[in-house]
């Protein structure tokens, strides 16, 4: 046979019509089914891995050129650092006790968790992919798929902490995301933990249902970002003396659009991949639902900004598309196409008003709208399951017989489970981040010094301009509007409001 590959010997010769023959055929058929699922799981996992390129383009395009190097370094460092944290402890915490994974040929080893049956709190197998026999084909493929989901939560926070967090604090945040913040809540939802068992333990619908991670990935990332953004405070010059926000236009709108389109492509792995296998033919519907929500979210945001501000805002329209994607992530397998379109539309509405809310009222400086896109619309995605699930899918979900139904299809209790999930997710992600980084903040500064922030973080923190060969233009086109014109001759009333 060919050097370099020892594929199982194909049954060339005739198989006798005996039990032995039939067993051989059955095992080959099962092997093929596991292979198909493995191909689907890995390929969709690779698409989710590729989303990091989309996030890198998106958030770097939405921030200023003088910080582009810092943004890009944060994106690639997040991948490496969070990966190692998840490999070491995160995966074990999240899936240590999940038991056999049907589609992947029953990976037995992940079978010990802290907390009894229906109230699992923390997995305890699979540290460093060694303990508890985790060095097994099925577990590895499963790890690959789950680590790229965790990475996505890690990328989300970058948009909200941009242009002022120092690199050291950022690395701590990523380590915590990979080791603690994501896996613990992830265990409760997907690792057989108490949130997913709410249906079995307390008869609340099918327990918390989150097909591909509106809550587990996006809301977690969004609320962590919220906590960090509050602790960091706004960028210098973001709020004028009278409290109104000043615009800091992103330095590269082509990065923003291309980043959004790459995320749409990656999302085709995110949602359809969450069936853990192609043997579940629902993947077609999931893919179409995902794109429908994206398009309706985009169209709403484009039209809304067009009518409200006179011109369609390119970056807000992209946020609308992402909001639709985030919102459809939890309900995508359980709802019909028309419902996906509606969920995406509402996500578009939410993201537009939420960006205005955080910018003008809450005065939380979120350069890329990460909190609104992922936090708010992630929560809406969870709610949407409890509303629009039409019972055409999800038989026996979380161990509860019958398909998943939402409020409009006669099951109020599912909505309750979703609301509990939303609340717990917020309290956990926002709470633990706020506590930890309040402590960190007292111990060491979490922001770069003022002069570094004004000059641009690339050279002070990494010793290199991102675009050394291009001439950059000074301050944002916005000109010091704070001054009332007075005729020449009077002493100038130049304000020196900025430190």
């Amino acid at each position: 046979s060919l050097t370099g590959s020892t594929g199982t010997q194909l049954t060339k010769d005739q198989i006798p019509v005996t039990q032995v023959g039939l067993n051989q055929l059955t095992s080959q058929a099962t092997h093929s089914e596991v292979s198909i699922n493995l191909v689907w799981l890995l390929m969709t996992g690779f698409l989710v891995l590729f989303m990091q390129v989309g996030f890198a383009f998106l958030v770097t395009g939405l921030t200023r050129a003088k910080n582009a190097g810092h943004m890009m370094m944060m994106n690639i460092a997040a991948f490496a650092v969070a990966f190692i944290a998840y490999y070491a402890v995160g995966f074990a915490f999240q899936f240590g006790g999940v038991g056999a994974i049907g589609n992947l040929g029953g990976t037995g080893p992940l079978s010990s968790a802290f907390g009894h049956g229906n109230a699992g709190v923390l997995g305890l197998h699979g540290f460093f992919l060694q303990s508890g026999g985790a060095y097994d084909v099925g577990v590895m493929a499963f790890f690959l798929f789950q680590v790229v989901f965790m990475e996505t939560a890690g990328y989300i926070i970058i948009g909200a902490i941009a242009e002022r967090i120092n690199f050291r604090t950022f690395l701590i945040a990523e380590l915590l995301m990979g080791a603690l913040i994501y896996p613990v809540y992830g265990m409760w939802m997907w690792g057989g933990g108490w949130l997913s068992k709410l249906g079995v333990s307390h008869g609340i619908g099918h327990g918390a249902v989150d097909f591909a991670g509106s809550g587990v990935v996006h809301a977690t990332g969004g609320w962590t970002a919220l906590a960090l953004a509050i602790l960091l405070g706004p960028r210098i010059g973001k709020y004028k003396k009278d409290g109104t926000p000043r615009a800091f236009p992103g330095h590269n709108l082509s990065y923003v659009v291309v980043g959004t389109l790459i995320l749409v492509f990656g999302w085709m792995g995110f949602n359809p991949g969450s069936t853990f296998g192609a043997s579940d033919l629902r993947i077609g519907i999931v893919a179409v639902n995902t794109l429908l929500a994206a398009c309706f979210g985009f169209v709403f945001a484009m039209s809304w900004t067009w009518s409200k501000w006179g011109k369609p805002d390119i970056s807000m329209s992209c946020n609308g598309m992402l909001a639709g994607l985030v919102a459809i992530t939890a309900p995508c397998a359980f709802v019909a196409p028309w419902a996906s379109a509606l969920i995406g539309l509402i996500a578009g509405v939410l993201v537009c008003y939420s960006v205005e809310f955080f910018d003008r009222i809450a005065k939380v400086d979120d350069p890329c709208g990460a909190i609104s896109v992922h936090g708010v619309c992630g929560a809406w995605g969870l709610l949407a399951v409890g509303l629009f699930a039409d019972g055409s899918y999800g038989n026996g979900w979380n161990g509860v017989p019958g398909t998943v139904k939402g409020l409009f299809y006669g099951s109020g209790s599912q909505l309750t489970a979703q609301v509990i999930d939303m609340a717990v997710g917020f309290i956990w992600a926002f709470g633990i981040t706020f506590i930890i980084f309040s402590i960190v903040k007292r111990w060491k500064p979490i922001r770069v010094p003022a002069d570094v922030e004004l000059q641009g973080i690339d050279v002070p923190e990494f010793g290199a301009y991102c675009y050394p060969d291009f001439v950059l233009s000074s301050e944002t086109p916005g000109i010091g509007e704070d001054y009332e014109p007075v005729s020449v001759g009077g002493s100038s009333a130049g304000g020196t409001e900025r430190t």
């Binding site: 086109p477 916005g478 000109i479 509007e481």
Partner: protein, 112 residues
Amino acid sequence: MKLIVAIIKPHRADEVIGALHALNVGGITLTEARGHGRQRGHTEVYRGAEYQVDLVPKSRLEVIVDDADVDTVVDAIAKAAKTDTIGDGKIWTVTLDSLLRIRTGERGSDAI
């Protein structure tokens, strides 16, 4: 020797430089600039936050000419740059104390 500095609209740079070629000037140096005159810019909205766009792109031309040719060149530039719309720009002149052509070491008017 005089240095003529002209601030013109970028899309008129082609015509102005063409006009200067027609006058066979010694050379042209163009720098990218942004500016506004009496008429201040306008307001744009980015993600809900308003911002003033005052400084619009302008081309800044520098041409060194003999004193005798100043008026001809200034008029030629003005004629080529004119679009009868706000922001057409300004042209001013400054007297040079000395001029040196690096390659040949020529000085004064010969160096133009």
